[in-house]
C-alpha cells in the first residue's frame, strides 16, 4: 500500500493508492503521522484518487487522523474519493466530520 506525501508550508498532502484494509492501514498511519509530526501543518489533505479498495479500516484511518489534527489545532480534508470509497465513507458520516474537496486545493 503505497502513499506519497507532499509537505508544503502549511499543508501535508497524502496521496493514497491501492487497497486500504486492516493489513495496510497500520503502515499508512505511521507514514502520515510521521509527516504531520514533523511539520505541524494547518491542514492535512488525504487524497483517495488512486485508491482501488477500502473497507472500514479506511474509516478508522480518517477518524484517527481527524483526532490527531484536532489535537494539534489543525484541520483535515479528503479529496478525490472514487464512488465505491465514498459509499463506505458515507456509512460513517465522514462527510459531516471532514470537508470533502473535489479538486486540488493548492493555491
Amino acid at each position: 500500500m503505497p502513499v506519497e506525501i507532499d509537505i508544503d508550508e502549511s499543508y501535508v498532502t497524502a496521496y493514497l493508492s491501492g487497497e486500504i484494509d486492516h493489513h495496510s492501514a497500520g503502515e499508512l498511519r505511521k507514514k502520515i503521522d510521521a509527516a504531520v509530526e514533523m511539520s505541524y501543518p494547518q491542514l492535512l489533505i488525504l487524497d483517495f484518487g488512486a485508491v482501488t479498495f477500502m473497507d472500514s479500516s479506511g474509516i478508522g484511518l480518517v477518524m484517527g487522523r481527524y483526532k490527531l489534527m484536532s489535537d494539534l489545532g489543525g484541520a483535515i480534508t479528503i479529496q478525490n474519493a472514487p464512488k465505491a470509497i465514498g459509499k463506505v465513507m458515507r456509512m460513517a458520516g465522514i462527510e459531516k466530520l471532514v470537508a470533502e474537496r473535489k479538486g486540488n486545493i493548492k493555491a
Binding site: 472500514s56 479500516s57 465505491a84
Partner: protein, 144 residues
C-alpha cells in the same frame, strides 16, 4: 436448496491474507457477471468479516479462517466466513454501529454495519470459546 456451484477456502488468520480472501470470493462469483458496485459491495463485506476473525476471533494468535461460498439458482450468493476463535459474548452489542472494543481509536466499529447494508442478508452465530460464523447473502441483479 442445492447450490449449483460452490467453493471452500481455509487459510491462516494473517492480515496479509485479507486481500487474497476478498479477491478469491470476487473471482469465484465473477461468472455471474456482477457489476462494479456489486463486486465492490461483496469484497468490502468479506473484508470486514475476515478482518473480524483476525482482529477479534484470533486476537491472541494465528488460527484458521474458513470461507464457504455457494451459488444458487437465480444468481443468489451465500458466503459463510467462520473462525474457531474466542467468540462473541454479546452479539447484539457487537453489531451496534460504532461499537468497538479497540481502544486505540483506529477501528471505526462499523464492520457489521457495512456487512448489513452492503449485503441483502447478514446472519451472525457465535459461542464464547468456540468461534463465530457470519453468513452473508446477496442476489446478483445486474448482468455485467
Amino acid at each position: 436448496m442445492k447450490p449449483i456451484n460452490e467453493m471452500k477456502l481455509s487459510f491462516d488468520s494473517r492480515s496479509c491474507n485479507e486481500g487474497f480472501a476478498r479477491s478469491a470470493v470476487a473471482s469465484f462469483i465473477a461468472v455471474l457477471d456482477p457489476n462494479m458496485e456489486e463486486i465492490s459491495d461483496i469484497k468490502t463485506a468479506v473484508s470486514e468479516a475476515v478482518t473480524n476473525c483476525i482482529v477479534h476471533g484470533y486476537r491472541d494468535g494465528i488460527g484458521i479462517i474458513y470461507i464457504h461460498v455457494k451459488i444458487f439458482e437465480g444468481a443468489k450468493v451465500s458466503i459463510v466466513i467462520k473462525d474457531k476463535g474466542c467468540g462473541i459474548g454479546d452479539i447484539k452489542k457487537a453489531m451496534e454501529p460504532l461499537y468497538t472494543t479497540c481502544e486505540t481509536g483506529e477501528r471505526a466499529g462499523l464492520g457489521f454495519s457495512i456487512m448489513d447494508s452492503f449485503m441483502d442478508k447478514l446472519k451472525v452465530r457465535s459461542k464464547p470459546g468456540k468461534g463465530t460464523s457470519v453468513t452473508l447473502e446477496k442476489s446478483i441483479v445486474s448482468k455485467g
